[in-house]
């Protein structure tokens, strides 16, 4: 995470470890976590106005790329982070679930805005009342639509999770049980 302020460049902190002349030793978990969290490939699943707000987030003013997530992946197979932005109709729900299933582990989900998180104002027969009814969600960003700053905050929380999670989260019984509760293999 390099933040340029004048000529001062801040580089992300190194994890705990043993340091000496010419070497630095840390656990693999921490090294991989550090790499993962600063190189997220988000998949934008933008279905409505939150998607427009996301464009502002990606553009130069808010510059999402500062957080290492410069490269959007439009293929679920290469993406780490599914960003669901907008109203998900019930007819769209199986598509969203399939996109999630096609993503390779490790994968995270950010639900942006009221509609994706809870259905929002669309309390109606045709709209899915929150994407957490079909796929697990890691971070919810409230708002209608949320400000880009809020989404950045959500991304930072995702990074926090990514950096601190065990290397093989997918092998843990809790994670398997959680996926099974959604009927995902």
């Amino acid at each position: 995470m390099a933040i340029i302020q004048g000529t001062e460049i801040k580089i992300t902190d190194k994890p705990e470890g043993v340091e000496g002349q010419g070497f630095f030793a840390t656990s693999l978990d921490k090294a991989v976590g550090l790499a993962r969290k600063n190189s997220l490939w988000p998949l934008p699943f933008a279905t409505s106005c939150c998607g427009i707000e996301f464009m502002a987030l990606m553009a130069s003013h808010y510059d999402f790329g500062r957080f290492g997530a410069e490269r959007l992946s439009f293929s679920p197979r290469q993406a780490d982070l599914l960003m669901v932005m907008g109203t998900i109709a019930k007819k769209m729900a199986p598509v969203l679930k399939q996109v999630y299933e096609q993503m390779a582990e490790p994968r995270w989900v950010l639900s942006m805005g009221a509609c994706a998180s809870s259905g929002g104002i669309f309390d109606t027969y045709s709209v899915l009342q929150g994407i957490d009814r079909i796929i697990p969600v890691d971070v919810y960003v409230p708002g209608c639509p949320p400000r880009p700053e809020q989404v950045i905050d959500g991304i930072l929380q995702i990074q926090q999770m990514v950096g601190n999670e065990s290397l093989r989260r997918r092998n843990s019984p809790e994670y398997k049980a959680m996926l099974a509760s959604y009927g995902i293999e």
Partner: protein, 167 residues
């Protein structure tokens, strides 16, 4: 054409007689309520007859009046004469026990998707339609959501309660 309502009414009455149940002017729209079984012939006549020339189906939609016993459901057709810029509206009504309407796809192919939509939302059966299945809602939906007996809301929503939203 000085009075569209009278002109079309006279033409229709001469041709179909009793099948034209009523005619009235609603704002700038002449509205004709007609017999359900004659609706296709009437629209076809309005389209083909040179003096009328209503060659464009602007829209069609179903309506549901649950308190209107014996005529709970209706269909509305809106036609447009493009060269003369004239518009008329036709209505038919029928009971909930018998929601079968002849298809308009033979006269206006554009009616295909509109009829599928009315089937999707109101469950109206268009007899003779080539592909009558849901068009907008999920395929496995087991009811017709725009019928008044079904609630508009999802029903599984958890974050709303009576205290806050007056349900």
């Amino acid at each position: 054409m000085e009075n569209l309502l009278t002109f079309v009414n006279d033409k229709l009455k001469a041709k179909f007689g009793e099948a034209i149940i009523s005619s009235s002017q609603e704002r700038d729209f002449p509205v004709f309520v007609v017999e359900r079984n004659k609706i296709i012939e009437i629209i076809s006549y309005l389209k083909e007859e040179a003096e009328l020339g209503f060659g464009f189906l602007t829209t069609m939609c179903a309506v549901h009046f649950p308190d209107n016993t014996g005529a709970e459901f209706g269909m509305m057709y809106q036609l447009h004469n493009l060269p003369k810029n004239l518009r008329i509206r036709l209505k038919i009504f029928f009971p909930v026990s018998d929601v079968i309407v002849p298809t308009l796809t033979g006269v206006f192919p554009a009616a295909n998707w509109m009829e599928r939509q009315e089937y999707d939302f109101y469950g109206i059966i268009f007899k003779g339609h080539p592909n009558l299945k849901r068009i907008l809602n999920v395929d496995d939906m087991d009811y017709f959501p725009m019928r008044k007996e079904y609630p508009l809301e999802d029903g599984t929503r958890e974050d709303k309660n009576d205290k806050m939203f007056g349900r």
